[in-house]
Amino acid sequence: MKEINTKKLINFSINGTAAQAKEGWTVLDTARNMGIYIPTLCHHEAVEPIGACRLCVVEARQGNWSKVVVSCMYPPFEGVEIFTDSERVKNVRRWVLEMLLAQCPASREIKALAAEYGLKSTRFKIKNPEEQCILCGLCVRVCAEVVGVQAISLGSRGVLKHVSTPYMVPNKACIACGSCVSVCPTGAMQTRLDKVRGDISQRTGHGFAH
């Protein structure tokens, strides 16, 4: 957890409770510091936030102005009122989770999270009952930002988006460190790891050369 610098604090509120953030902190940083729960999937402290899963949305209000923002990236400003469970917020989370139930029905984490919002089933078409990946890109980011090898990336776009290695063949750049597996919020990377690193016993010389 980041240290609070008491010199420069931004005063605002979360769910009516006074909150203080250091400059550079996001709403999520502050909420976690205060022990307020906001669900997240694509967020990990080791990498830069990208605001992709949108589960961490909160509503920011000031006077008549109101906006739904992602707490993992939103820098609070003096006097803003943050609501972590308003109707608009719950509406976004509920729909995202119902759609995720159809996207990755094999994920226990998604099922558990959906149950918190009263969702047991989905009305949308299930394409692959085995799917666990939510395409949050944490694996890709940790590989690039922390490990520094960029063995995997997100390929294609939109509904065709997928996690893969270049040309979809095992990538020698992979050092088989397993960081992608450990940050994966749904365990989907586990089944993909072998496709990324290939057969390690066949590697020669310095083996995991970049």
């Binding site: 589960l55 739904v68 992602v70 729909w95 995202v96 995720l100 949308f124 776009r157 988006k161």
Partner: protein, 620 residues
């Protein structure tokens, strides 16, 4: 051309070029805009050159053949105009060219067959035609007039005069002030005040000294929109000049024009124009001998619609996948390579030189107070005069569709207009007198957008229209955030059900709730505005949605699962037009006797219904 090394030299050059023009030489302008080119205008232009060469006319009489940008009246293309007679010839074919040279150019005879006529009136010149009469051209002032590949032609028309004025008599601060006073709002869609954008970027640079960039957004991707394409192709110098002025105001030294690869002629003309400007000393190091340095690079977009979004566009220029990022820190502060960046649309930048030349005050008097100036629209769909129009802001929608556009062709009736492309809304006939400006359109649930205007008649089904735009965005979604990647697909599932007569009234409410979640939750404006076409059609045409769901009926006769076509044996004259055009060849009947449709083979494409002159095809 000789390098221009001081500001007076530009004036001298302009005057001498103008003088040369006034020699009385005939000019033939052949429109090579996208519409005319598709109809073979390049062959017409080549035929003119050939014919003139073969005639061996003495130099003084030999006409100047100009291949210009879009004249606007695409429906009547290929278009040819002649100076000084002012004659306007429409639907010119290469075979007509010899006659034009022989009769009109050599003997001043008018070929009445090629003149445009409407409701029995024959028009000799473009200015008299209703389509042109009500327009006011600012951004596209030179398009169709100049040869875009000739910088001399542009300079004779006044190009780079505004840059000269800014350099000679204005400080960067005064330039920003003038743009603020003009009230110009971004023409790319969101309508953010351009002056304020420049001011914020200038402030950001003051706070964090270092590079600042000027970027031109030419990634026009809305279905049916081609305004920016026409400006870039027809008058590339106006865009370049606008960028130089922006660069001067901000102290930028590098600019980028992001053009989609699907616009090869825009890329070609811009590249040539930039080269000419560089060798004329109007771009690059030491512009006009003032010591000011600014150059532009073209970045070609690979065709991703989302790259029209500012942050995705920056990513793309930086060589990364075109995905937007959250804009809690605005791009005027942190844009390209995290430096202050001004991103303006093509049309916005094309307006800048005119504002600087005539003053912001002058510009602010055109149109209503909060939406000043003019706006270019590409008028497409079920409208008689398909083409490009530029009108002052604040004109009623009906003026554009009915007076300039000539209304709906055939016996069909005007149903709705989609403005703002897939992010915009569907404006019903009953709101046809709405003032076309940023705020009025937003108020009724649509947006101005970049200026695509798709007209629909009673053969267009709103459920189908909403599905079309949603499917377009689903394909173009970058897939980064879940509400967009999954939400658009989910909304489509609802609409696909409606189109098949499935679903319930509760589903409509659920769909609205999902739409709200997508609007609130999506990362960028692509997802955030994606529900607009569906929401506006639902608001204004709810009865049609209900007809699909409750009565299992598609009133417009479009949704294939809900319709069958029949031939009314009393109205059918047996002309055989439907039978000979049916792609399935499933219409049979004897000559001059009522025909019949074989329902088993019919794919419900509706060709027969659209073609029948006797309204004998019924849909049920």
């Amino acid at each position: 051309m000789e390098k221009i090394t001081n500001i007076e030299q530009l004036d001298l050059l302009k005057n001498s070029l103008r003088k040369a023009r006034e020699s009385g030489r005939q000019v033939v302008r052949v429109c090579l805009g996208p519409g005319c080119r598709a109809q073979g205008a390049d062959k017409v232009a080549a035929a003119f050159r050939n014919a003139v060469r073969q005639q061996g006319l003495p130099v003084k009489v030999e006409p100047l053949i100009k291949e210009t940008g879009c004249h606007g009246f695409c429906k009547e293309g290929p278009l040819v105009t002649l100076e000084p007679s002012g004659l306007f010839y429409s639907r010119v074919k290469p075979d007509d060219v010899e006659e034009i040279v022989e009769k009109t150019i050599k003997n001043n005879e008018v070929i009445s067959r090629l003149l445009y006529s409407e409701n029995g009136t024959v028009y000799k010149s473009a200015q008299e035609i209703p389509f042109y009469k009500m327009q006011k051209k600012i951004a596209s002032r030179n398009v169709g007039d100049i040869d875009p590949l000739s910088i001399e032609d542009a300079i004779a028309n006044g190009a780079y005069q505004a840059v000269a004025k800014a350099f000679a008599s204005m400080t960067p601060e005064q330039v920003i002030k003038d743009v603020e006073v003009s009230g110009l709002r971004g023409r790319g869609g969101a309508g953010f005040p351009t002056g304020r954008k420049w001011r914020s970027a200038a402030d950001a640079v003051k706070k964090h000294p270092g590079p600042v960039y000027v970027v031109c957004n030419g990634d026009e991707g809305d279905p049916g929109a081609f305004m920016d394409c026409v400006v870039m192709e027809g008058d590339p110098h106006s865009v370049i000049e606008g960028m130089i002025i922006a660069a001067y105001a901000l102290g930028a030294r590098q600019g980028f024009i992001y053009v989609r690869e699907e616009y090869p002629f825009a890329i070609k003309n811009l590249t040539i124009a930039m080269e000419q400007a560089r060798s004329a000393g109007l771009l690059g190091a030491n512009i006009m001998g003032t010591g000011f340095e600014f150059d532009i690079r073209i970045n070609r977009g690979a065709g991703a619609y989302v790259c029209g979004e500012s942050t995705a566009l920056f990513q793309s220029i930086e060589g990364k996948p075109g995905e937007p990022r959250a804009k809690y820190i605005r791009s005027v502060e942190r844009g390209l390579w995290d430096r202050p960046t001004v991103l303006n649309n093509v049309e916005t930048l094309a307006n800048i030189p005119v504002i600087i030349e005539n003053g912001g005050e002058w510009f602010s008097k055109i149109g209503p107070p909060n939406s000043t100036g003019t706006k270019a629209f590409s008028l497409v769909g079920k409208v008689k005069n398909v083409g490009l129009v530029e009108v002052p802001m604040g004109v009623p929608l009906s003026t554009i569709v009915e007076d300039i556009g000539g209304g709906i062709p055939g016996k069909k009736s005007f149903k709705a207009v989609q403005t703002g492309g897939p992010s915009g809304g569907c404006i019903p006939y009953k709101l046809k007198d709405v003032s076309v400006d940023f705020d009025s359109l937003t108020k009724i649930g649509s947006i101005m957008g970049s200026g695509g205007m798709i007209v629909m008649d009673d053969r267009d089904c709103v459920v189908d229209v909403a599905r079309y735009f949603l499917r377009f965005l689903e394909e173009e979604s970058c897939g980064k955030c879940l509400p967009c990647r999954l939400g658009l697909e989910a909304m489509l599932e609802f609409l696909d059900n409606f189109a098949q007569g499935k679903g319930s009234l509760e589903d409509i409410e659920e769909l609205k709730s999902l739409a709200k979640a997508v609007q609130d939750g999506a990362l960028c404006a692509l997802g955030g505005s994606a529900p607009n076409p569906m929401l506006t059609t639902l608001e204004y045409f709810r009865d049609e949605y209900e007809a699909h769901i409750i009565e299992k009926r598609c009133p417009a006769g479009v949704c294939k699962d809900l319709i069958t076509f029949h031939i009314d044996s009393e109205a059918c004259t047996g002309c055989g037009l439907c039978a000979s055009n049916c792609p399935q060849a499933c219409i049979t009947g004897e000559d001059k006797k009522p025909h019949e449709i074989s329902q088993n083979a019919c794919t419900r494409c509706g060709t027969c219904m659209d073609l029948c002159k006797f309204s004998a095809i019924t849909v049920s």
